[in-house]
Amino acid sequence: MQRTFPLILCFIFGILGIIPFIVPHPVVQHTDEFLRNDLLRILAAFALVLGLGSLLRVHFDKIQHRRENWQYSWVLLITFFLTSIIGLFGGVAGTGPLPTRIGNFSFDIQTIYLNVEVPLGATMFALLSFFMASAAYRSFRARSTEATLLLLAAFIVMIGILPLGNQISPHLPSFAQWIMDVPNVAGKRGIAFGIALGSLATALKILLGIERSWLGGGE
């Protein structure tokens, strides 16, 4: 029952997901609209609970048991609760019951997002360029014909797509574009067919209850 009932639900809702693509009848379309707007949307909002709950549990646990770097868990929790309070009570546009301005200094949720989250997220990914340079230097070796081909294609594209490529030769950008349009498409399309067929097989396995990993452990 604890595993069978969810599997049956998965199958039923899977069929309900497929039918609207095939049957244009208004009853089917309206039912589909109801399912999406009035059920799935709300479930998506509640699904945040899972991720958030796990995050908070991990960090409370770290603090409680004084695990490594437990002090930073306080930073995370305080930031989370502060931001949530400012957002929930200050409103999306800073017009809620909680005041989010002291003189000219504003601290509404959008300001926090633009000045805290954006620079932090952007800088984390900016680090990747350095790691990529170091990794490319250390590990990209033309050990075989295939690897040499890969490197040559990479060099042609890296130079061809930039204005420097056009300065070296007007044919270089066109050649780089041709590499993207023809051999790249051929290779990627072959891979994409495999992925598409694999996804289709996995989807059918999930609906038919053959693939049950989403049920998790336990009974």
């Binding site: 609209e33 707007n37 999306v92 952007a122 490319a136 890296m158 130079i159």
Partner: protein, 287 residues
């Protein structure tokens, strides 16, 4: 230490320093670089340029802080293009993180236009010329739902206004009134738009994507499922070039400013890879 060992063991911090220098210097000492516009970007530009006056352009702002430098210049260029041509715009995001950046981009461009506007018809007015619908999860809800009715999916817009009271939403009911959707995204959303909205409702889809996704999206461009494709900062620079040349809009071209730094960074990467390979082959021969 032999030269070969030196070639193979350059400290990573030296690599980081050299990369930082070649990126910073061209930013401090700028030099104008004009870009050659390639076919995929031209296709997208033409698709936007030929939008019928009665129809809208829908923009899916799906870039987060991690991909903002590549994708925000695209968004700004498209908004400038569309507003100059008096094309109606509907903005939305499929995820929560891009919302703030989407609002910032819309505010920036509408602010630029309204600062110079002399009459009401020159201005860009919220509700009449554009609407920011906001975000409704999960992505499949708006993608499929807007095929029937946009206001049913987005009952309120990002600012909390009832969407069915906005003048623009009285004209734009569903995808039949949207000529083109441009997905400016760092992940899979363009494929979702094609798989769901285009397949079921025939919506035309254009894409602005990060360079990481580029090689995976070219097959969809070739089949015509994408009506155009802008790739990374270079794609944004090409669109900026078109907007400046064709529409005489002279605003800051962030993507174009970055091209010299990009060029030198690429050259440095290539040099390091070549050095590593030379050292590797010499060492292999010695063995």
């Amino acid at each position: 230490m032999k030269i070969v060992d030196l070639m193979l063991k350059i400290d990573r911090r030296i690599i980081y320093l050299i990369l930082a220098i070649v990126v910073i210097l061209p930013l401090i000492i700028p030099s104008a670089q004009h870009v050659r516009v390639m076919a995929p970007v031209q296709k997208l530009y033409t698709a936007v340029d030929t939008i019928h006056p009665d129809k809208a352009l829908m923009i899916d702002f799906d870039y987060d802080p991690q991909t903002q430098p590549e994708l925000e210049p695209m968004a700004l260029a498209i908004l400038r293009h569309a507003f100059k041509k008096k094309i109606k715009i509907l903005g939305l995001s499929l995820y929560v993180q891009p919302l703030g950046l989407a609002k910032a981009a819309l505010d920036q461009v509408t602010g630029e236009i309204n600062a110079l506007a002399k009459t009401n018809s020159d201005s860009v007015i919220y509700g009449r010329d554009y609407v920011f619908l906001g975000w409704q999860p999960p992505p499949i809800v708006p993608i499929l739902g807007m095929g029937e009715s946009i206001t049913n999916v987005y009952k309120k817009d990002f600012y909390g206004n009832q969407t069915d009271t906005l003048p623009l939403m009285k004209q734009i009911k569903n995808y039949n009134n949207v000529e083109l959707l441009i997905s400016i995204s760092s992940g899979d959303p363009p494929l979702w738009w094609v798989s769901y909205a285009q397949n079921r409702f025939g919506l035309r889809v254009g894409v602005g994507c990060t360079a990481v996704s580029a090689s995976d999206y070219y097959p969809y461009l070739q089949t015509g499922q994408f009506s155009g494709l802008m790739v990374g900062m270079k794609g944004a620079a090409e669109y900026e070039e078109l907007v400046e040349k064709d529409l005489n809009i002279h605003k800051r071209r962030k993507a174009s400013e970055a091209l010299p730094s990009l060029t030198y960074a690429h050259l440095v990467m290539i040099v390091f890879i070549i050095i590593g390979n030379i050292g590797y082959f010499i060492k292999r021969r010695q063995k």
